[in-house]
Symmetry: C2
Subunit: 250 residues, 2 copies
DNA sequence: TGCGTCGAATTGTCATACAAATCATAACGT
DNA sequence: ACGTTATGATTTGTATGACAATTCGACGCA
């Protein structure tokens, strides 16, 4: 079920969409400008017009471009294209400077996640409690397996967002999930893990006993520490995560 | 041609996408199930396969469905489809119960908007200040023109989100903009407007003088008042939702 | 029973043709 | 000379038909 490259490798129109979308976000086609005609893309990329058109349909759906007869397909303003889209996000990560990206993501996360925890404490149902406990169990069981720990961590936070029973929180959790997963292949938070585990336990307990204030508090503590951990990573002194993403921008 | 009610989207594939997307969100096609084949849609809707395919491309881009050979196009789980997409949002609004929708939106808004104001106070550039002042000027100048006031109000808040200089805040502002605009066609003005104008002025001033704490405070005050007005709407006494629509825009 | 093979169904891609929209330009009338 | 209208050209939109790729299911065979 976790096929990620499936979208990239197969389906021609998705590959084409990837190419064009990335080119747009790279600034190769400036906002407001008209990008090459379908026919030109056909020739450039060596594919049929159908493929190009279907790719462009995807970009239209993501708000990156708008197409009108005779005028051509125009690149829309960056404020208009829908930043939460997984693909848009993926392209952004491939191009962004890692540190500022992290900074911005945490700005939003600091705003949202405590509120999400609060709402989760208020509105979570039993199935949410079960899933949250299960995810926490996976974190406990992760041991030295970094990959497992990261996955469990992400699952834990996703549970919180879903437990809010508010669909509008989901995509934000998704944003962090995608961002963090893309950015760190393996996180280097090893020495902080016992403390992080305790913080997660506090948050889980607060949600389970339906204590919104405590949940908010626990989330804030957790985020504060996570933020400093990130700052540690950003220092060139410690172990550096593999930074494969930010190179694509050059 | 089957449905003549949708005059906004000329393009056939967009109308088709609207129909199918709405049907999916209406639960007509359950998550995990396979929806009718392209050929069947062609016959049902009386359009060519091209139109259906391009419509489905849009739905794929929005995460609503995934298509694989022979298996058909499967409806993905609701957590997977990308809730921030303007169209998805629009469909949701058309189907949602208004009061719970408002409630959920404000849960998120309470979390995000004070933080956005804080960030705007810190990171706004001159062009942002100008645009914010301009939008506020439009609000002042709106007078008795309700439509103008609502538009100016939405523009004002959009300015704040953009002034954060954090792309991840944008789509959330977009969410509110779309939601409020779709929900209330044109709002009747409330007697709250003078107070609302003052609150907006406070917020603007705090951002202009780069005072994050004050900006956060001002946003919270404004949201608190808007929230209570919303609560009035939710009274089952049959009060018209239109009454407080303009307050909801804050 | 277990296995491979083949066929059918469905999406994926291609090619072509024409329709619709719209901009540029030329022709026309006043 | 100027504005208006007709015409044409260009680009996207839609339709249609064909074939490829993939995969499920059923049949036949050992």
């Amino acid at each position: 079920m976790t096929n990620r490259n499936w979208a990239d490798s197969f389906k021609l129109h998705l590959r084409v969409g990837d190419q064009i979308g990335l080119a747009i976000m790279r600034g190769e086609f400036a906002p407001g400008s008209i990008l090459p005609t379908e026919a030109q893309f056909c020739q450039t990329l060596g594919v049929s017009r159908t493929a190009v058109r279907e790719a462009v349909r995807g970009l239209i759906a993501k708000g990156l471009v708008e197409a009108r007869s005779k005028l051509g397909t125009r690149v829309r303003a960056p404020e208009d294209w829908n930043q939460m889209d997984p693909d848009v996000l993926k392209w952004r990560i491939q191009l962004a400077d890692t540190s500022t990206y992290l900074e911005k993501m945490f700005q939003l996360r600091n705003a949202v996640e405590p509120a999400a925890a609060e709402n989760a404490a208020m509105y979570a149902r039993e199935v949410d409690h079960d899933r949250l406990s299960e995810a926490f169990g996976l974190m406990e069981a992760a041991g030295d397996d970094n990959a497992a720990w990261v996955e469990a961590d992400l699952a834990f936070h996703k549970c919180i967002y879903i437990a809010t029973r508010n669909e509008f929180f989901w995509p934000i959790g998704q944003l962090f999930e995608i961002g963090l997963r893309e950015m760190f292949s393996i996180a280097a938070l090893g020495q902080h893990r016992p403390r992080a585990l305790e913080e997660h336990r506090d948050l889980r307990d607060a949600i389970l006993r339906k204590d919104p204030a405590a949940a908010r508090e626990a989330a804030q503590v957790m985020l504060g520490n996570a933020r400093t951990d990130i700052d540690i990573i950003r220092e060139p002194t410690g172990t550096k995560p593999k930074r494969s993403a930010d190179r694509a921008g050059e």
